[in-house]
Symmetry: C2
Amino acid sequence: MKRRELLKVGTAAGAGFLATAVAAPAIAQSQPELKWRMASTFPQTLEILWGTAAQLVKRVAEITDGRFKIQIFGPGEIVPAFQVLDATQNGTVEMGWTSAYYYWGKDPSFAFFTAVPFGFNARLAEAWYLHGGGAEFVDEVFKDYSCHCIQAGNTTAQMGGFFRKEIKTVADLQGLKFRIGGFAGNVVKKLGVVPQLIAPGEIYPALERGVIDAVEWVGPADDEKLGLAKIAKYYYYPGWWEGGAVAHALINLNKWNELPANYKAALTAAAREAGLWMTAKYDAANPAALKRLVANGVLLRPFSGEIMDAAYKATEETMNEFAANNARFSRIYQSVRAYIKEGYQWWQVCELPFDLYQVRMSNRS
Amino acid sequence: MKRRELLKVGTAAGAGFLATAVAAPAIAQSQPELKWRMASTFPQTLEILWGTAAQLVKRVAEITDGRFKIQIFGPGEIVPAFQVLDATQNGTVEMGWTSAYYYWGKDPSFAFFTAVPFGFNARLAEAWYLHGGGAEFVDEVFKDYSCHCIQAGNTTAQMGGFFRKEIKTVADLQGLKFRIGGFAGNVVKKLGVVPQLIAPGEIYPALERGVIDAVEWVGPADDEKLGLAKIAKYYYYPGWWEGGAVAHALINLNKWNELPANYKAALTAAAREAGLWMTAKYDAANPAALKRLVANGVLLRPFSGEIMDAAYKATEETMNEFAANNARFSRIYQSVRAYIKEGYQWWQVCELPFDLYQVRMSNRS
């Protein structure tokens, strides 16, 4: 029964007091006072990734007149950076702010939801998620980990990272100790690279001490903050393993199911709006950050055709190996692969010629 | 005073009834029952543009437990397609769903908020709006028309439209009667074209009867619905005057100012989320629609270098003419031009090489 109907019944019975007394719990039920904790993989120093979570919780509080409060905790405050999924799954926290592909070791299908090598660009990732069956796959996989997941923002195409020495051929990659995120480690291994997953806070000292030879993180805006250019001058592009990496808001599935419908709607809208903010923030911050890096002596280098083609081949092999051993991975891979092929066939007709012409004109005088 | 504090005070005084009675109006004020009308420029047959408004009002209703209801009306139901700004400004409707550049005749600065020739692509338009000063310009201009405006979605890069005959040189454009939206009419005039603004519902008969020789509307998904390919076979790209066109939710400024803060937050989040949905929907629908058009005999043609360069020059002349006569237009133009230049200088380093490689691979086999 709706609140208005209750009020009507109450008034009809001439029992104004009763009506109000009965109505109050109905409101309380749809507007409960909640205080949730959100564990973040990303530290506050990464102001775009942290800032996206901040936008999300601010908007939820505004919409609910402060009744639904979510507090963000940085990596190490409640759990380490890469235990955000576990902490959300087991209810240590109600929410997590992370990126699915960090957990590909638990389930390789997680990789698709953030980025796989030669995968989606930022816009195609969103199209697949909202309109191409992606959200249904996300629901299916995260359900196994007792989480509800909302896609929220994209880093945009990432750089290939900072290298101490020039990398011209596949031979130059042999034995290279490379900090690289997510599933892509499986691919670069085939190229002779020794992949290492290191949390953001530990990247700089690892490169400085020579524990690693090269580092990919995100793009100019974030990379500049890690200060990597001081140690490694060669800045490669494009990050073919992350044409756009997606961030995710996780909610413990029981907690999600307990939420009233209006809070579910508010949280979903706020997370997606925050995601829009994030993607736009990278697009806004990267141009100036790149200029500053170059002005400070960073040398931009494209990956050679030899490396790109070898990486593409290694990616196909890797994907097929995982698909052969995992039926769900195979199903999602077929969906993603077809979407990329068709998406880019259209891209080349309209977006790409426009962007190419604009790039040409932006380089004039 | 917050509701909880009121309850506490009431309970402390041993006056449970009073506390409840006092608390009710505080909730009612922040959760008023509202029924608004939204006039749309776009008819229901254009399912993505209409669907975006539908997403918006659905989400607002969900978040507010049905207390804030907005009903959408198609063009001609309350006001004609291109009088949505006027109707919102004068309070005939509380909201409008339209695109700012249809009103460039009232104020040429409106053009920047949707698309100007050789302007933003979809992502740069969002970056400029959210993080590059765009939203502040939007507020400044729309305030003069007693509206609050929320940017909500992008059509993505548009096609150049359907032409009855091949267009290879600027000479081929002389005297061509061309349906074209918004500010771009000023530019194509300089190329010898006779621009005409025709509402969506009247485009097909105008082309069929030969009132016009060519039509640009949006992209494959929308263009296919207008059935233009039956009359004009040559489908040109890219639509250099709309690298991405933005849609807008307008709210009468007095009505906006009267909204409680939580409703303002809900409406903003819902509109931006709907915008994300819209951009993704175009990216999802265009690839298959293009395939169908080509399978039905449409012939894809790129605009020649001669036409692109002449159009770029005509655009610069046009923008400078308007800037010379309008200080605010000039201010916004400087901001937009600098943003495009810097944005594309970064784009060429990371997004473009990734997209180019993906396009190449999507064409294999």
